[in-house]
Structures are given as C-alpha cells and as structure tokens.
Symmetry: C2
Subunit: 317 residues, 2 copies
C-alpha cells in the first residue's frame, strides 16, 4: 500500500467535517508549571463515540462506492474502532457487521449494539476473530475496514492533528500514543507537510513496546502477550503504518505503568476531563523522560475517554 499524501488528509477533512465534532484544545497551567512546557491537548475524548477513531471510520465509509455502500462494512475489534465503525455506518444508513470476542467488556458490547451494528461473537483469539470476520464478509459482501492498515482510515485520523495545527501553528512537537499506528501516521503526514521542523514523537507503554523495538531495530516486530493498563495500545503496527512511522516519526519513548497512572490522575484532577489510560501515555513519557524531550510547545492528542468507571475509579480509592 502507498503512503498517503497530505492532500488526501485534506480531502478526508472536507469529507468528514459535517459528521465529526471539531473538538476543543485545552491547556492546563498547573500541568505546564509541573513540566516547564506549554502543552496543548486536542480532546478527542469529546469526539463522537468518545474517541478519534470516529474520524477514520467515517472517512473510510464515505469513500465507498454505491455498490459497496449497499453491502455495508465489517470489522473485528473489541475497542473504539468497532463503535466508531458502527456509528459511521449508521450515520450513512448502511449496515455494519462487527466480530467481537465473547469476553469483551459488557460496556463495549452495549455501545456497538446501541449504534445498531450486527454483532457476531467469537472466541477471544486473533484466529477466531479473523475467521469470524472472513465468514461474515463472505456471507454479506461487506467491505472490511481495518482499524489502521487502511489509508482512508489513516487520513481520517490525521484530521485531528490538522485541526490542532489550525489552532496552534507554532508547535515544536506533537506527541500521540502508538498502538497500531493509525493516528501517529495520519498526524505525521500533516506535520511533515505543514511544519517540517515540528518533531513527531510517539508514546508507547513499556508493557507493549513493539513499536519502540520495531523503530529502533529497524524491522517490524509484532507484540507477544503485551500487558498494560493502556488497553487501546495492545495492537502491533501493520506493514503500512510501520513504513510511515519509519519515514515520518522522529522518536518513540516508552512509559512505565506507574507513569501512565500518574499522568492519567494528573489529567483527571487538573484538567477535569475523563481520559482512558491510553490517552495518558504522551504525558507519561514527558513525566518520565522530560530531560530528553527538549521541545517546549507540544501538541498532544487525547485519544479517547472510554473507561469503565467502576474499574478505573479503584485507582483513585
């Protein structure tokens, strides 16, 4: 697959603008003074379905032709991409088929069902998910929308960073979490086109550091039994996202579980917003590796706010 051009992100933005929220950029003087930086948080936790994923899913759906639209879209996912694709399909009035592991949290099952998708449950293994998806696609003719190994999805995610630059055009760096890499790839295409001197930094949990190892060992390494509270970042990169990361990303830092929890608490208490653990990883690398990150004005993408308050509130008690 070809690396998308900035013009494709531009086109994606025009395409999805009527359907997505333009989310606010928040700042926190308290957090700035702790870190000695000026941080600008693009709040995609306020995006529809509570995550930036709605941008990419919407762009992918809007790029389908009429015959594809009729047959609908499909994916396998237990996370935000499933809900995003379900709502994007519903918004365009087409069917969505989601293959979910039967052990997915009830709150995620409910969200996907709420958006009207047809759910097929499978065993919680990658093999079962993939074969379940294959079957659904065979039966329905739906188009498989991969959560990140898809240039339309990547371009959609990049619009979050484009909006951030529209408000702050003098950033020294942007930092985004890296899981499969869709967001950092889309964002890096924007940064490289508009602000060639703005650093692009990816933030990854130590417990799921496949992107870090891939980047510095210069070969695509898949994660084996990753373990982190940042449950949105368990996935490995794909060939497409890896090639974009190698080309466009300047540095990857990893954060310990302790730093991630500390950063998340800081965001909750100081910024008064609810973010999922994955969203806290960029701030966590600043807390942990601040002395190695010299950029002063930094844009950070808050990727989502979908937490199970029952579970997460135990961190505060």
């Amino acid at each position: 697959m070809k690396i998308p051009e900035y013009e494709e992100v531009l086109a994606a933005h025009d395409r999805i603008r009527p359907f997505v929220h333009r989310t606010p950029v928040l700042t926190s003087s308290a957090i700035n003074s702790i870190l000695g930086k000026d941080l600008f948080f693009k709040c995609e936790n306020f995006q529809k379905v509570g995550a930036f994923k709605f941008r990419g899913a919407t762009n992918a759906v809007l790029c389908l032709n009429d015959s594809e639209l009729n047959k609908g879209v499909a994916t396998h996912s237990s996370g935000n991409h499933a809900a995003a694709l379900a709502l994007a399909a519903k918004t365009q009035g087409i069917p969505a088929y989601i293959v979910m592991p039967n052990n997915a949290p009830q709150v995620k099952k409910d969200a996907v069902a709420f958006y009207g998708a047809e759910i097929t449950y499978c065993e919680p293994t990658l093999e079962a998910r993939e074969s379940g998806l294959e079957e659904v696609v065979k039966k329905t003719g739906a188009t498989f929308i991969h959560p990140f190994n898809n240039s339309k999805v990547i371009c959609g995610q990049g619009t979050a960073v484009k909006e951030l630059f529209e408000e702050y055009d003098d950033l020294d760096a942007i930092i985004a979490p890296i899981g499969g890499g869709g967001l950092i790839c889309g964002g890096s295409i924007v940064a490289r086109a508009l602000h060639p001197f703005c650093s692009v930094i990816a933030a990854e949990p130590e417990g799921a550091d496949d992107a870090y190892r891939s980047f510095y060992q210069k070969k695509l390494i898949l994660s084996v039994n990753p373990k982190t509270i940042a449950d949105g970042l368990l996935t490995s990169m794909s060939p497409l996202t890896y090639s974009i990361v190698r080309k466009n990303v300047d540095e990857i830092f990893t954060a310990s579980e302790e730093s991630i929890v500390e950063a998340m608490k800081l965001i909750w208490t100081r910024m008064k917003i609810i973010v999922e653990p994955s969203s806290a990883v960029p701030l966590a690398i600043l807390l942990q590796h601040g002395e190695k990150i010299h950029e002063k004005r930094i844009g950070i993408v808050i990727t989502g706010g979908n937490v199970d308050l029952k579970t997460i509130s135990q961190l505060f008690s």
Copy 2:
C-alpha cells in the same frame, strides 16, 4: 445594596477577560436524545481554580483602589470561593487572608495554600468563621470579599452566561444551580437585558431547598442543617441575591439526591468531563421534572469540577 445593571456585567467582562479562561461550550448528542432537548453546557469546571467563582473574585479584586489593594482581601470559606479569591489576589500581587474551618477537606486546604493565601483555621461554625474573619480584617485592614452578597462578585459570575449567549443567542432557557445565588443572579441580569424571553431557571437540591422555599413563600428563608451531596449549594441566599432572584428568576426546581447522582454519572460517562455534584443539579431537575420544563434549547452552567476523586469514585464502584 442596589441590583447591578447589565452594563456593570459588561464592564466586569472587559476587566477580567485577560485573567480568566474563556471556557468551551460542550454538547452531548447522547444526553440530548435521552431528554429530547438541545442542551449547551458552559464548562466552568475548566475555569481557573476549577470553578466559575474565579470570575467574581477576579472582578472584585480588580475593582479595589490602590490603598485597598495594598492591604489585600479576606474571606471565610471552605469552598471554591476561597481558592478563587486566593488566586485572584496572587495574580494581582496582593495578599489574601482566608478563614477556613479546621475540618475542611485537606484537598481544599492544599489548594488555598498552593495559591499563597494566609490561612487562619477556626472551629467549623458560622460564628467562629465570622469572628475569625472580623479579627483578621481588624488586624490587616484587608477588604472582605463576600462570596455572593457583593455586586462586583455577582457581575463577575454573570460573565459566564454572557459568554454562553455569545455562542448561542437563541436559547429558550438557562439553568444554573443556586446556592448563595451569585451565579444565577449575575446570569439573570444578562438574560433579562439581552434575551427577555429566555427563561431563567434555578436548580437546587431538595436537601438544601431554602431558595425554593424563599422564592415560592416570597420571603428570605435561611437553610437549617441542609444536607446534600451537592456541597457547593449548602449556603442560603443573602438579601441582595434574594432580591435579584425574586425579580429575574422564572422558576426554581429541586432535585433529589438520586437524580443528582444519576445526572452526575451521565455527565461523567457521556460527556467525559469531571464535574462536582453541584454542577449536576441542573441536569438532575431536567431528568426529574422534564415534563414541566417545556423549553427546548437550554444553556446550562457547569459550575465546577473540584471533587475528591477518592470519595466520589465510590459512587461508581
């Protein structure tokens, strides 16, 4: 004391603009669809010190003359006004003296101390607070800034509603919580001047319903042993705020503790923002008395986000 004119709110806005955040207005399609309304939430939980109180305190400080500025400001409070006055004073480089009950939550003591105020602890009774304040004022010559029985404070709080109307000039109603009444009074002055047909509705906890009773019995009634999770709304109105409420407010509704908690959970989970229980009371009256509130496009002031996550997270577990 005279009821302030709209022009005084305008002047307050010009005065405080360089020092306060212009907070975003958020919407939630999920909450709108539950209620069948269009709600616009003015997010003062993102204001400095995490509450709208910073607006009024800043305006009051900026209205002092040079000799008053030299001697500083004082108040007794265990809540957001104390932190707001402390930061407003610090921002202008003048001293702040805060009398706090010795049983105030540690997090509030820390906040006030963090903003550099001089704290005097007293027994947790109104008498001890008032005599403690009198002593401090006598010793220092500081100006007492009442949290709401003060027209400069009221005009400062009104700027939150002014900003809301600047973004949405076609609201059918505004709803704000009522404790001492500073916010609803300031807001009502703006509404009456700019949008005479926009309803002004106050929201109060059933467990602290002194404003409700005062309003419908047409005499100022003070609360006795109020009890509610909405700890920012325990205070009674003052003669000044009561006179403005009688003149400008259309209706007051009260909310049960159950509705307040339900509304707060809805805001946390659907809007991904952290709000204190007091902030949820407007949504709570809509949940509880929706059939009596016919206005469709409603502006709601989210008053603050200062919660003790340790305590509040138990509601979710």
